[in-house]
């Protein structure tokens, strides 16, 4: 039961990072790949009408974490207080900018909202990356299962840690570049014309940086949390994750070189999913590692909810997910292929 919920939560996080990761990545590249206003509209159109559906995977992840592992939910949400509110404000600004920028056909209006859109996407990728870094590095969890984390301390990943330190910032940069590269792959597939060509050139460069940063992150993680790699190679899911990472990279480079656009998107999705799966398998069963004392760490087995809650949720959760995907397919059929903003029923004025 505990393993199933751990897997479900990992799956939801993968869905969020792959789907909304494309939206973040494409969004942050908006000014780089789109030079004219029409081209920038094209980037928003490529993100498409389902961006909020993508975001629901994050909302669903949070609430499912509360159902399955309430101790982790409460410890981490309260502990990451300020960082989470920064994340929220960026989500608010980003959501609003997508919605309202399209309403008014005015260059200043558009420019202002596109700027907010780009900046909030960059900040979101950094914050999410830093959050993942914190979970990997561990937090100063006390024996009572609580912690409070300063935004930054002396930037050392050991001892008195903060939300931002050398390790978590490295992870944040890695995630930022990875999502940008993933977004570029998606834009290659969804657009045509100058945006497509610029995205393609950018994607090749970005993926080379991703490959280089992967080595750096691996070395750093080895220093900060060596047992993760031990866990990874002793779990079938760890191997699946590693296959995703390396298979994904191969797909990305062959896809980008051979103009097989879908293959490249598949590759970058597999790469991101692989990172998450390998990480999740590597740290299992420790969900929140304590940097103060190993015995304070919260494992999935300790944190799991008891009683009938998980049994009930195991019945409704699959039903809800299948329905969720059905809705997505119902809408997505109409938006396949390259985007054409002029096909929108309502035009700005």
């Amino acid at each position: 039961m505990v393993e199933i919920w751990y897997a479900i939560l990992s799956f939801m996080l993968v869905m969020f990072l792959v789907l909304e990761g494309f939206d973040f990545g494409a969004g942050m590249l908006q000014f780089v790949v789109g030079k004219t206003e029409a081209e920038r509209r094209l980037v928003i159109a490529a993100i498409g009408p389902l961006w909020s559906w993508h975001e629901v995977w994050l909302v669903g992840f949070g609430a499912t974490l509360l159902v399955a592992f309430p101790a982790i939910f409460t410890a981490s949400f309260a502990g990451f207080y300020l960082a989470l509110f920064l994340l929220l404000w960026c989500l608010i600004l980003r959501g609003v900018s997508i919605e309202v920028s399209g309403h008014i056909a005015d260059p200043m209006w558009r420019a202002a909202w596109h700027f907010i859109f780009v900046v909030s996407n960059i900040l979101l990728a950094i914050l999410i990356g830093a959050a993942l870094g914190n979970v990997l590095r561990g937090v100063p969890l006390e024996a009572n299962g609580k912690f409070a984390l300063a935004f930054f301390s002396n930037f050392s990943p050991y001892g008195r840690v903060g939300i931002l330190d050398w390790y978590t910032v490295s992870v944040a940069v890695f995630i930022l570049v990875t999502l940008a590269a993933h977004g570029a792959n998606g834009l290659v597939q969804k657009t045509s014309g100058p945006v497509h060509d610029r995205s393609l050139r950018l994607a090749v460069t970005l993926w080379k940086i991703v490959a280089a940063l992967l080595v750096v992150i691996t070395v750093e993680s080895w220093q900060v949390r060596p047992e993760m790699f031990h866990g990874m190679i002793h779990q079938p899911f760890g191997w699946l994750g590693l296959a995703g990472i390396f298979g994904g990279l191969v797909f990305v480079f062959t896809g980008l070189q051979g103009n097989r656009e879908f293959l490249a998107v598949l590759g970058s999705s597999a790469f991101i999913a692989g990172l998450m799966i390998a990480g999740a398998a590597g740290v299992f069963p420790v969900m929140l590692r304590s940097t103060i004392a190993p015995e304070n760490s919260l494992s999935a087995f300790q944190a799991a909810a008891a009683g009938n809650g998980l049994t009930a949720a195991l019945i409704w959760w699959p039903v809800a997910s299948i329905l969720a995907v059905t809705y997505m397919v119902f809408i997505y059929r109409h938006y396949r292929g390259k985007v054409e903003p002029e096909q929108d029923a309502q035009q700005p004025y």
Binding site: G48, L66, T74, F80, L84, L91, A306, F330
Partner: protein, 447 residues
């Protein structure tokens, strides 16, 4: 700790009050759009299609602000109310997660296509998407109300050895009688907001002599639906809600009514100012025996006053609770009168010529927002000092690792951000209303 509790309460109250200004219109307006679209599908008359598109654009803006202000609510369960989430997460986490999984996925998949995708989806699928958004928003409302109902009237749980709550029977928890009654009352209230907004835009267009087809349509549907839901929100749903409070939360009822001292033949205060020092209502205008009759059905029924309860179990803010309840009930009564008058004039064929009434209908739209806010304040203040009624105090629920300064920091952030969001919202909606429905027509016919 005290500071954290105070600022966390203020932050939650502020963010939830602000947030709920938007979903109530979402839930109220959604079925109007479904209706206009359905008429368009049936009759093929373009003014129905234009009406649907016009409201869909407004709906889209409203929905977006509702979504982005809604996400902080879920986060705050963990960030500010970790004690509460730890204590009851096993139970209330169910409905919060179900809301995300069942309702948000439905709404979020359909909303983009509903606002922008009519040409791509074609008439039939676009209609389905519109119904999907409406259903999703109502489903979301139910799950949230079931969560709140657990806080008002906890059922379906057991207590674990470590003192926290565990889910026992999910059906008891989901079908909490409090949830069902409150859902019906709340949804009727959301439809009141929707009706008043549709009516107000119709009245504006009539007064300006613009878009005559849609102006008549908005006035007609708005006032007709408005009268029905104004009646339903009072009776039976509001009445049932009050009876439930009388039965399960007598102390809240005493606070709502400002009944410091209980007894038979309890009077119903229409207006007055509670004076906690003297334990009396100052300058009262009241109906004798009416509270006994309303709560229990006969005039000699004994209604418990605040004095029947220990001091630490009484709602601490009697004054605000009293005013909230009376503002809600008073406005609800005025809404019925206004909508009845509008329907009478419409039936006589004179509504569009009654300029005074049209002015009143146009300016009345903010009041349902005030009434719903006051209604929620009644529910939430009446529950105090409990976070989960009789089980868990509000003061126990707050996150103890977060300090007051952090919360004030984020509260100030929300205040600034939400102020800008509010200005933006009013600007965008005003612009859509000024632009009007005739311009919302689809440029290219279905391929």
């Amino acid at each position: 700790m005290e500071d954290t509790l105070f600022w966390s309460r203020l932050q939650f109250a502020f963010t939830i009050t602000y947030h709920y200004l938007f979903p109530q219109l979402t839930m109220g307006l959604a079925w109007f759009i479904v209706y206009f679209k359905w008429r368009h599908l049936r009759t093929g008359q373009e003014h129905f299609g234009n009406a649907a598109r016009f409201w869909a654009r407004i709906f889209g803006i409203n929905f977006a602000v509702g979504v982005v202000t809604g996400i902080p609510m879920e986060f705050q369960f963990g960030t500010n109310w970790a004690g509460f989430s730890n204590f009851s997460g096993n139970v209330i986490g169910q409905t919060l997660a179900m809301e995300g999984m069942f309702a948000f996925f439905l709404e979020s998949a359909m909303i983009g296509a509903m606002v922008w995708g009519e040409k791509r989806l074609g008439p039939r699928n676009h209609f389905i998407a519109t119904v999907g958004v409406a259903l999703g928003s109502w489903l979301s409302g139910y799950f949230i109300l079931a969560t709140n109902a657990f806080m008002q009237h906890p059922v379906g749980y057991t207590t674990a050895p470590d003192g926290t709550l565990r889910l026992d029977h999910i059906s008891d928890f989901l079908l909490n009688p409090w949830a069902i009654v409150m859902f019906l009352h709340n949804q009727c209230a959301a439809l009141v907001t929707g009706s008043f907004v549709v009516t107000a835009v119709g009245a504006l267009y009539v007064l300006r002599g613009k878009y005559p087809e849609q102006a008549s349509l908005f006035l007609k549907t708005g006032t007709l639906a408005g009268l029905i839901v104004c009646l339903l929100v009072a009776f039976p749903t509001g009445d049932r809600q009050a009876k439930m409070v009388a039965r399960y939360q007598p102390v809240s009822l005493a606070g709502m009514e400002g009944l410091f001292h209980g007894g038979p033949n309890a009077e119903l205060e229409i207006i007055g100012q509670p004076n906690a020092t003297t334990g009396r209502i100052d300058n009262p205008i009241y109906l004798p025996n009416a509270l006994s009759i309303l709560a229990f059905g006969y005039s000699r029924a004994k209604v418990q006053g605040l004095d029947a309860f220990p001091a630490d179990e009484r709602p601490p803010n009697i004054e605000l609770l009293f005013y909230s309840f009376h503002i809600m009930a008073g406005l609800g009564t005025l809404f019925i009168l206004l909508m009845a008058l509008a329907n009478l004039q419409r039936w006589r064929g004179r509504l569009e010529k009654s300029r005074g009434l049209l002015w009143a209908l146009m300016l009345a739209f903010p009041f349902p927002y005030i009434a719903t806010t006051a209604g929620w304040m009644t529910a939430e203040l009446g529950r105090q000092p409990w976070l989960i009624f009789k089980l868990f105090r509000t003061s126990q629920g707050v996150s103890d690792v977060v300090n007051g300064g952090d919360v004030l920091f984020t509260l100030m952030g929300f205040t600034g951000l939400y102020f800008i969001l509010g200005v933006l919202y009013l600007f965008m909606i005003g612009r859509e209303i000024a632009h009007g429905p005739a311009a919302a027509k689809l440029e290219v016919s279905y391929g």
